[in-house]
C-alpha cells in the first residue's frame, strides 16, 4: 500500500515542519524534577530513620524468650540486644569466686586459706554468715597479718566493734583465716569486706 505510506509520511513531515521545541526548557524541567526527587528521598530517608528508632524497642524480644541460637529451627527473629548491666550501689554477692583452700571442712578454731582469683589487693577483713542467710553476717574475721601474733582472729557482729583496731595491712592473698570458736557445724559463706566483693562457701564440722 505505497500510497498510504507516502501520504502518512507526508502528513508526519508536515506536522514535523510545524513543530516548535525548546531544549532549554527540557533541561530545566529535568533539573527541577531531579532536585524534587532528591529532596523527597531525603524526607523519606529521615522518616524511615525516625520510624526505625520508634519501632526498634518494640521489636526487642522478651527476656524470657530463648536465644535465637538455641532455637531448634532457623528463625528470622531479631537477635536480642545486649543488655548492659548498670552497677548497683552494692555489688552483687557471688558465692564461689573466693577460693577457700587448706580445709573444706574445718573445725571451730581451725584455720583455712582464702585466695583471690582476680589477684587484686585487699585488706585482711572478712565477714562470715550462714549459707542459709548470707545477708545476715554473724562474725567479722581478721586474717593473719605477718608479725602480729594476735591474728588470725574473729569477733561477733553483735559485739560492739568500737575500739577494735583493724590493721591497715593489704595484700593480694592468700590470707589465712580462723574459724570462730564455738561456731556451730554447718555451711557458711565467707566474703571479703575490702575491695571487689568475693565470697566462698565454708563447711564447719
Amino acid at each position: 500500500m505505497p500510497d498510504l505510506q507516502e501520504d502518512l509520511r507526508a502528513l508526519a513531515d508536515r506536522r514535523a515542519g510545524e513543530s516548535t521545541g525548546d531544549f532549554d526548557s527540557v533541561l530545566t524541567t529535568a533539573d527541577t524534577r531531579r532536585r524534587r526527587r532528591t529532596a523527597g528521598l531525603a524526607v523519606v530517608g529521615a522518616a524511615v530513620v525516625v520510624a526505625a528508632v520508634a519501632v526498634v524497642p518494640a521489636l526487642r524480644p522478651a527476656q524470657t524468650q530463648p536465644p535465637v541460637a538455641a532455637s531448634p529451627v532457623p528463625t528470622n527473629a531479631v537477635a536480642p540486644p545486649r543488655v548492659s548491666v548498670q552497677p548497683s550501689e552494692r555489688p552483687v554477692q557471688k558465692a564461689g569466686p573466693l577460693v577457700l583452700t587448706s580445709a573444706k571442712a574445718v573445725a571451730p578454731g581451725g584455720q583455712f586459706v582464702a585466695s583471690f582469683p582476680d589477684r587484686k589487693i585487699r585488706g585482711v577483713i572478712y565477714s562470715l554468715a550462714s549459707a542459709a542467710k548470707p545477708d545476715v553476717p554473724l562474725y567479722t574475721l581478721l586474717a593473719e597479718v605477718p608479725g602480729d601474733s594476735t591474728t588470725p582472729t574473729s569477733w561477733k557482729v553483735t559485739t560492739s566493734e568500737a575500739g577494735i583496731g583493724v590493721p591497715a595491712y593489704t595484700s593480694a592473698g592468700p590470707h589465712t583465716l580462723a574459724v570462730p570458736k564455738g561456731l556451730a557445724a554447718g555451711s557458711y559463706q565467707v566474703c571479703t569486706l575490702s575491695g571487689p566483693r568475693l565470697c566462698g562457701l565454708l563447711t564447719v564440722k
Binding site: 502518512l8 508526519a12 513543530s19 524541567t29
Partner: protein, 165 residues
C-alpha cells in the same frame, strides 16, 4: 550532566524532536499534544542520556517512551471524555486541509492500538516483527491490525473522496 553531554543531547534534540512530533501527532491527532508528549519524553531522557546514548538507536528508546505516553494520555482522555460526554464537542474539520485532513480524521477514528501499529509500520518503517517487539504483542496481532487499518482507511478515504468530488 557535563557540557559535552549536554551538547550531544542538544544536537540529538535538534534532529529528532521535529520528526518525533510528526510521528506522535499522527497518534494523537493534535500537533500541540504531540509536542507536549515529545517534550516529556525528552525530559525523561535527560537523566538517562549517558546510558541511552550508548544504544545502537537511542531514538528508538525515545520513540517508545513517546508512544507509550501518547497511549496513556489517550486512555486518560477517554476517561475524561466519558465523564464529560455532554461537554465534549467533535473537532470541526478544516476544509483547507483537503485530503491530508481527511487522512488525519480517518486515522483518528481508528482505535489507538491500531493507530500505533500503522504509524510504527508505515511512518517509522519498522517491520512487523519490530512493531510486535516494540508494543509487546504477537506478530499475528500486528498483521491483523494492519489489515483492518488498511481496509478501514481505504473505505473511509474513498467515501470522503466522493464527498470532495
Amino acid at each position: 550532566m557535563r557540557t559535552a553531554e549536554t551538547d550531544e543531547l542538544r544536537e540529538f534534540y535538534r534532529v529528532h524532536q521535529p520528526r518525533l512530533v510528526g510521528v506522535i501527532s499522527l497518534l494523537t491527532g493534535s500537533r500541540a499534544e504531540a509536542e507536549d508528549i515529545v517534550q516529556e519524553a525528552f525530559v525523561r531522557l535527560v537523566p538517562r542520556w549517558q546510558k541511552v546514548s550508548r544504544y545502537d538507536a537511542p531514538e528508538a528508546w525515545l520513540r517508545l517512551v513517546a508512544v507509550r505516553l501518547s497511549a496513556n494520555r489517550h486512555r486518560d482522555g477517554n476517561r475524561l471524555t466519558h465523564l464529560f460526554r455532554r461537554l465534549h464537542a467533535d473537532p470541526v474539520p478544516d476544509p483547507a486541509d483537503g485530503y491530508a485532513g481527511d487522512l488525519e480524521r480517518a486515522l483518528a477514528e481508528l482505535p489507538m492500538p491500531t493507530r500505533q501499529v500503522i504509524v510504527l509500520h508505515y511512518v517509522c518503517d519498522l517491520s512487523v516483527a519490530q512493531v510486535a517487539d516494540t508494543l509487546g504483542i504477537a506478530e499475528g496481532t500486528v498483521k491483523s491490525r494492519l489489515s483492518r487499518a488498511r481496509d478501514t482507511l481505504s473505505a473511509s478515504l474513498l467515501l470522503r473522496s466522493d464527498d470532495h468530488a
